[in-house]
Every structure is written in structure tokens, then in C-alpha cells.
Symmetry: C2
């Protein structure tokens, strides 16, 4: 029979992949940074094989760029990708909140409520990393409650690029209150079934993520794709 315990330790490839991805999204590995199979394998204490396979996965997500016989680099942030990620989220999340206003399970409504409470706590503690995670979880719950979890996962691939620019913005700007208030407003709209209001606030909410993108590109030009090319 199956060993459905699900308790097996994760593979080396999985841990390496998760570690690298986290560091890239955190900007600990800044855009443009040179990686190397060998170096990463030494640092992480595994052989080149799982590192290499992680590079393959990250390359497919557009987070790294592999240039044969030359090197592997953390991708620069592509403003077009950021804008299109916003575009996708705008249209899909507007559709999803409308669904949510028509029908949303109580369990997930409570999950949203709990999530909002934790967001407040994180703001008090000024824990921006944690707030970032809660923000992601909040939107995920919305999709999950509408039976559209796979859609959220598909967005995820584009979303990582949007998130890198949002992370860049977090370090300077503080717009936490506004973000929380929008989440709270959307929650109430869903609860009351006010689809028009929910959709409108969601659209504004997602615009917040790309505001001042030009400003960021000015401040951190080395992190962005510049002209026609884009390779370091």
C-alpha cells in the first residue's frame, strides 16, 4: 500500500530550490548577482546535481538566467513583467471578489478575519516581512474560498516579479495602514455581498503595488532591465 504518511523529509533538490527562491524574493540575492552551481553546492553542502536541477526550475520561472558556459545570474527585474503581473491580478481578482460576494464559505470568511487580526499585530510590531506573508495569504484565501486555488498558483509565477518590486518598495516606503484598510474594506464588502464595492477597492488595492515603480527604477537602476537587452 501507499506510504501516505507525507512525513518524509524533503529532498535535497526541494530544500535547495526553496532556499534559493526565498533568497531571491527577499532580495538577499540581488538582481544581477552571479551564481554558480559549484559555489552553491559548496555553500549548501550538496552536490552539483540538486543545485543544477533547482537552477532549471528557477530559470523556468524567470528568476534566474542561465547562459551556457558563461554563468547563471539572478534575473534583473523586468518592468513589463511587473506591469503585466498587475494586469493579470487586476482582472482575475476583480472576477474572484465578485464570485466571493455571491458565495463565500464561512470557514474562509473566518480565515480572512483571523488574517486581518494578525495583520494588525504585524503592523504594531512593524514586522514588514510578516505583513508581506499575511498579505499573500489573504489573497490566497480569497481564491481558495472561490474554488480557484489553481488560478492563484498560476498567478504566482508572474507574481514573484511583482513581489520583488514590492519588496524593494517596502524598504523605503511605509503604506501599511492604507493596505490594511483596503483589506478590511474588501472583507466587509464580501461579507455583505457588495460586489461593485469589492471590485472597485480591489482594483485600487492592486494599483498600490506598482505605484512609484518609475521612482524605484530611478533609485535602483542596477536592479532593472534597462534598454533593449536585459542581460547583465
Amino acid at each position: 500500500m501507499y506510504t501516505n504518511g507525507r512525513a518524509q523529509e524533503p529532498s535535497a533538490r526541494e530544500t535547495v530550490y526553496a532556499k534559493l527562491k526565498e533568497q531571491i524574493l527577499n532580495l538577499e540575492l540581488a538582481p544581477g548577482t552571479a551564481l554558480s552551481e559549484k559555489e552553491s553546492s559548496l555553500v549548501l553542502g550538496v552536490s552539483r546535481t540538486p543545485v543544477r536541477e533547482s537552477f532549471v526550475r528557477l530559470a523556468q520561472e524567470g528568476l534566474v538566467q542561465v547562459l551556457p558556459q558563461r554563468g547563471t545570474f539572478v534575473s534583473l527585474i523586468d518592468p513589463a513583467l511587473v506591469e503585466e503581473a498587475r494586469f493579470m491580478r487586476e482582472h482575475l481578482e476583480r472576477a474572484v471578489v465578485r464570485l466571493a460576494c455571491a458565495h463565500f464559505p464561512d470557514s474562509h470568511l473566518h480565515a480572512l478575519e483571523d488574517n486581518l487580526a494578525l495583520q494588525l499585530k504585524s503592523i504594531e510590531r512593524e514586522d514588514d516581512r510578516r505583513l508581506f506573508e499575511l498579505d499573500e495569504a489573504y489573497h490566497r484565501i480569497l481564491f481558495e474560498g472561490c474554488g480557484k486555488l489553481n488560478t492563484w498558483r498560476a498567478i504566482g509565477q508572474m507574481n514573484v516579479h511583482l513581489n520583488r518590486s514590492r519588496m524593494l518598495r517596502l524598504v523605503a516606503d511605509r503604506h501599511w495602514r492604507h493596505l490594511y484598510e483596503q483589506h478590511e474594506t474588501i472583507f466587509r464588502a464580501v461579507k455583505e455581498g457588495d460586489a461593485d464595492r469589492a471590485e472597485r477597492v480591489m482594483q485600487e488595492h492592486l494599483l498600490l503595488g506598482v505605484r512609484d515603480l518609475a521612482h524605484l527604477m530611478d533609485k535602483y537602476p542596477q536592479y532593472f532591465i534597462s534598454g533593449g537587452d536585459g542581460k547583465p
Copy 2:
């Protein structure tokens, strides 16, 4: 300087990946089929490494399922994934045709026109594979003309699941004329800037892809995920 020739032969990994993906999408490798690094490496005349790395990529796209120490299998078609792919396309393509009606480059308008002509030819020849490709290209041109090519690529990952079910449908049903007429109508609406009409037809058009899904699940139950599980 860069060797920007772009004329280098593709790597073994790339060719293996493309080959396997094509066969899976064509249903030549039917859902549920058992694969193996060793066997594929023998068939394709390469070592296990590029095959393995292709499996990693395909697994990330959800086209194969790797069970450690047990085997690798072509994924069964998940109806939920098919429906959500349609959901994504519905909302994103509606938004895109609206953009197209507001502004669309002449070059891409001509590309659509040429594409439609080729579609007619394919229908005359009853070349369904070719028509399928042209259908994909048609929608791609729409996104490209609106500067949303990355969005189309992001859809692609979900779209492969939708396409497998569409491919399954093609073998029995013939709805070519209807499909063409909708493409043609959308084209004219874009040309005339009639956004409401374009959006409406696009929505109907995408519903066509999942019609009779239940019927297909009845006819080919072994290709679909059945109950709570989904593993072969």
C-alpha cells in the same frame, strides 16, 4: 563580446523537453502512461541527465508526476484545472480584446488576417493539427498586439491542460466552422473597435473549449482524475 549569433544548436535537454512535451500534448503519450529516465534516455539516444532535467521541468508544469523511488507518470487530466484555465482565459482575453478594440497595431491586424486565411485552408484540408496551431497563434497575436505577450505565456502553463482536453475532443467532434466564424467575428470587431461585441463573442468562444467535458470524462474515464486522489 557576445556571440549573439543565436545560431547554436539546441541543447540535448531542450530537444528532449520539447519532444516529450509535444508527445504529451498530442496524447501520443496518454495520461497515466509510465515513463522512466532510463527508458526515455535509451529511446532518445542521450544520457539520463537531460531526460531527468526535462522531467523536472515537465513536473513543474504539471504535465508529469514524479513519485520518488516509484516512477514518473504522465499526469491525468484534472477537470478542475481545465475549468480554471478557461476561467483565466475568459477574464484575461475579454480584457485584452477590449484593449485591442481601443488600439491595435496594423502589423498585427494584418497578421490576424493572414492567420484567418490559413485557418480556412486548414479546414478545407481537414488538417486539424494545423488548425489547432493556428488557433493558438491567433490568440497569441491578440495578446502580442496589446503588449501582453508575457500574460499569454503565463496563461500557457494552465492552457496545456485545457488543450489536452480540447485535443481529446478534436478526435471525435468537428466544430471547425463555428470556431472559424468566431475568430472572424472577433477580428472584425477589433478592426471596427466594437469592444462590447468583441468581448461577448470571445466569452462564447472560450466556452466552446470546455463544452462536453463531462461527456469526454465519460468516454475516456482512464484519462481523468477520478475521486479524491488522482494518482494512478
